[in-house]
Symmetry: D2
Subunit: 142 residues, 4 copies
Amino acid sequence: MSTGELDLAQARAVLAAQPFAQHVGTELTEFGAGTATLRIVLRPELKQQFGFAHGGVLAYAADNAITFAAGTVLGANVLTGGFSITYLRPASGVGIRAVARVQGATRSQAVVNCELHAEHDDGDAVLCATAQGTVRVVERRL
Amino acid sequence: MSTGELDLAQARAVLAAQPFAQHVGTELTEFGAGTATLRIVLRPELKQQFGFAHGGVLAYAADNAITFAAGTVLGANVLTGGFSITYLRPASGVGIRAVARVQGATRSQAVVNCELHAEHDDGDAVLCATAQGTVRVVERRL
Amino acid sequence: MSTGELDLAQARAVLAAQPFAQHVGTELTEFGAGTATLRIVLRPELKQQFGFAHGGVLAYAADNAITFAAGTVLGANVLTGGFSITYLRPASGVGIRAVARVQGATRSQAVVNCELHAEHDDGDAVLCATAQGTVRVVERRL
Amino acid sequence: MSTGELDLAQARAVLAAQPFAQHVGTELTEFGAGTATLRIVLRPELKQQFGFAHGGVLAYAADNAITFAAGTVLGANVLTGGFSITYLRPASGVGIRAVARVQGATRSQAVVNCELHAEHDDGDAVLCATAQGTVRVVERRL
């Protein structure tokens, strides 16, 4: 993997190696060509006091999806510089889907947009939050 | 509690009622006068693949601390509109401390700044990320 | 105009009533269905010391385009709560084009994505920055 | 100036070399030790249609102040990666003051907080917006 490029199976192995992604219960369902999609089953332990997904779960999902989407373009050696998230609606239903897409990239960085949808058991998906983040290539030093 | 004002014990009860805050292991250590501090013991399940705190844990902590800090000024009926976070350094050590302070507020909203520190077992704290968020009063409707 | 809805001519009149938009030299070229596009001729007074568009011009354009795009969905009585902007490349060429699109909206707020392109005299457009903002309906009180 | 360090007079010369800063009418009043303050007289051409400072003026001022504050710590060869701004109140009065402070820095980047105050002719200053930005050192290549 000298080029730093990843396929879906390798990217899933990276996610599986992140204990917090496992603690939340995150699955990578799409990875490639500037896009990454994460899915999280909305178990009771991911909620806040009113029964909706905790805002922190959406923020975590945005962070993780943004980094993976950038990885499809910049390779495996990347670092997320930060992101901003806007909450639009409370997220209820059976799952959270974070769909991140690279909006633009140079050789050294990418800006990534992420939509966070609440999935309902009738198949409906409702946009609950959007995020925008920056990811940079980490230079390897000898 | 007709005024919507909270003291530390009541705010801790709110945090205890958030299943995700418990799933992460969050403790409210300071609450009042425009400030809220959260502490999270950096257990293995909160890390990423290189042994540092997962960026999503810092983002979650920022979200939660920002909302509580705003609650000290705006009362209990608030909603976080969004926030932005910038990562400065990887967070290692024994714990994460999120210190949020209201930077300005009107009757209907507050802007809140949050510093995320990594705590080391020698007592040192290192700034790892900063965040800025907006919290609004939710109007009660009959 | 009791509904608060605007067409392109009316939206242009709003822009023409903003002295700073005129001071910069901003033109509204598209307005409707969740989208607004602004164009700014890159005159010498809009540059920084290296001959590129000043970052503040891009930030101004994002602010203004985001508000107009939200206005196509939420009506004329809106207020921009804030936005975040990421700079990807220096902007050179003959003009700046800010294309804002509503990514999601409720009855009371919209999240808007904005792409800032540098236009070159050969017709090329290069993505130089992206922004994401929040716009809320201002309630009229008697 | 081999170290890239600037004093107030040199920083003012940098600002004076930015045509857009002059077009807006920006003055650098403080520069050093992690802080930079800009002042802008609120002339009619900087306003929006209701007589307040245009949001884009505040956004421009945040961008410029953040970069200068980072320059006090990182030296002259820096690039602003982006920022987020939250509007708290409309800005009226006689001037805008943007006070930026480095909140944390490594050798390669700084996170900077910025408060935007409206100055009134009775000497009062009212917080109208806050911003947070990231500035990176630009590596010189031979």
